[in-house]
Symmetry: C2
Amino acid sequence: MNQTENMIQAAFSQRINQVPRSFIRDILSVTNKPEIISFAGGLPNKDFFPIEEIKACTQKVLEQEGHQALQYSTTEGLPALREQICANYKKQGLKVSPNQVLITTGSQQALDLIGKVFIDKGDRVLIEEPAYLGAIQAMSMYEPEFYPVPLTNQGLNPFLLEETLIQKNIKLAYLVPNFQNPSGISYTEQRRAEVAELITKHNVLIIEDDPYGSIRFGEKAHHSLYYYAPEHTFMLGTFSKTVAPGFRIGWIVAPNQHYYEKLVTAKQAADLHSDIFSQRIISSFLSEYELENHIKKIIKAYKSQSEVMIQAMEEHFPSEASFTKPQGGMFCWVNMPSHFSAMKLFHEAIKQNVAFVPGVPFYIGKQDSNTFRLNFSCSTPEEIQEGIRRLSEAIKNNFT
Amino acid sequence: MNQTENMIQAAFSQRINQVPRSFIRDILSVTNKPEIISFAGGLPNKDFFPIEEIKACTQKVLEQEGHQALQYSTTEGLPALREQICANYKKQGLKVSPNQVLITTGSQQALDLIGKVFIDKGDRVLIEEPAYLGAIQAMSMYEPEFYPVPLTNQGLNPFLLEETLIQKNIKLAYLVPNFQNPSGISYTEQRRAEVAELITKHNVLIIEDDPYGSIRFGEKAHHSLYYYAPEHTFMLGTFSKTVAPGFRIGWIVAPNQHYYEKLVTAKQAADLHSDIFSQRIISSFLSEYELENHIKKIIKAYKSQSEVMIQAMEEHFPSEASFTKPQGGMFCWVNMPSHFSAMKLFHEAIKQNVAFVPGVPFYIGKQDSNTFRLNFSCSTPEEIQEGIRRLSEAIKNNFT
């Protein structure tokens, strides 16, 4: 480095040097070629964006409340939208007051705000292994130490959970109990109760992130962790997977008013408020149309796509590969034997014109992994079948 | 406090306890009554929101690029919008590349991101006195020490500026050279050159916040600090005062690619990207309509409102009051004799059904001030005349 570069490097805060570079950003730049079938993304399927409905709602908002939709607004978010969110929770048997709901610029901002308000440097944060890497990135800004606890197919391993809670003096746990990204795993009802009980016993805060909960293929919905531990749980939600992500509208349910007030202060400092035009459009959409009916269409498609993917993997993958069979959400997770390199497989797969995300960014401090993530929400059944066939070729080449 | 409350308080990070409570939020809750003429707000005039044009642009965006407008998008922001921002700078004689432009969720987020990337606890930040309190709030999250340097009518006092730069080992200076909030003061051309030279000499970073620069009543535009110190200056901009604030779309121009990349990393962790639907609407508005013509209407109104306010103050205020005569923006700043309490005046003024913001939140560590801020952009000429008359009554009552 020359002198100028040294000066530039010296200007950065300590925290920004802690934040992992986005591996997925780098990967997506390789996987954008048209000849590649990509299971690497994490996007909802654009075919289900309610464009015509949004068009109608937008017109209505501009005609009936244009001035308010374009002016500055309150930090907490649109009162009508906060009430609609509570009404949805009520249908699930959860009692939430609009005074607990803070509208955020996507769930991602919820993670940033909770980090800002609750994490000091060196505070200990428990995460799932593998974990959603956007949460690791957001919280890294506040320089905690992360303690991963392995996920089983039933949810977080309760013995390792309690051991970590006791030994590591954990302050905050970040959990995604429904159809987790990247694993597709959903906690069983019993595991939810156990996890919530342990968390409550050790007086730890929970971030319960739930972007995929309503994209549920069949089985009856389980209770949220908030249901079991309402005094300890921040419940996060978003319209990104059910309406559209472009609006960047999500929310936090705070467990008490003390926490809520500080989150509002942090939100105000962060961006004053989230786009009020988009908040009003979503609110109008929720009152004019039946969100549940809209979600049913998404579920039908994703369910079928996931089934095609699982069937193709069962047909083509070598017997050494195991994979989750998600009952909702957008992702499958593949486990290979322990010596297997998903990074090597990635480069081989690109040669075969198929892409995925190697597992490494979903762990703390790993250089490689024997796991990888497959997204099924954005590919046609034909693409899924052909892509899994190509991937199985790459796996076979990688084994030899 | 009982035990539960103690536990709740103990959960908060150190940083959140550093952040000043929003004084203005508290004040606005008092000033919302219909009988009160309020100069307390800081809103652009809603009558100039281009609702019909936005309606047309929104339809076009949804018809022509609905899928992209509702999907996840890139962290940096819409390429077309970043090019349009550069084209606007080019008209001002400034060469800026789209690769330097990061779209943010309002200018407020720009302050949060720069704080995140460049401020460690205890770093020293130079601010104007009085200063924009949203910036103090945003940067407080990163626990710097603030060093205020008084504003004169020509801009920052250069002698005190250099003294502070030398004695305090300043890392970052936050400056608003055009029609500052709260003072309405604009730096002279000579003062800009002097300030930029000093800053460059002492190798300090500048945040040049410019929400009001294009709302200029008459005189020829001055050069930006970025023009004089392009290697040291983050130039901020926003569509909040020129198009509409509800969209929350602003931007940062970063002085080099190293800084830019880290800001992108911080932005991704903060909210992935800003509302892409709104970015596309604004981009469409900029290509379909002439922004300059739209701004001319805003200027005409605000100029007239400011003149009415100044004339009314000259007529009614006691000779002890002095006030700025802004040549742009949305605010006047009133100075009273040193023993005068703007807080006391506020309570008296509310009795007279007129409101303003006492100066205290615009300073660091003050409990009261002899100064206050008046907003002229949201009141009719009649309201301004009547409001200033009422305010002068309150001042007279406060003097006796």
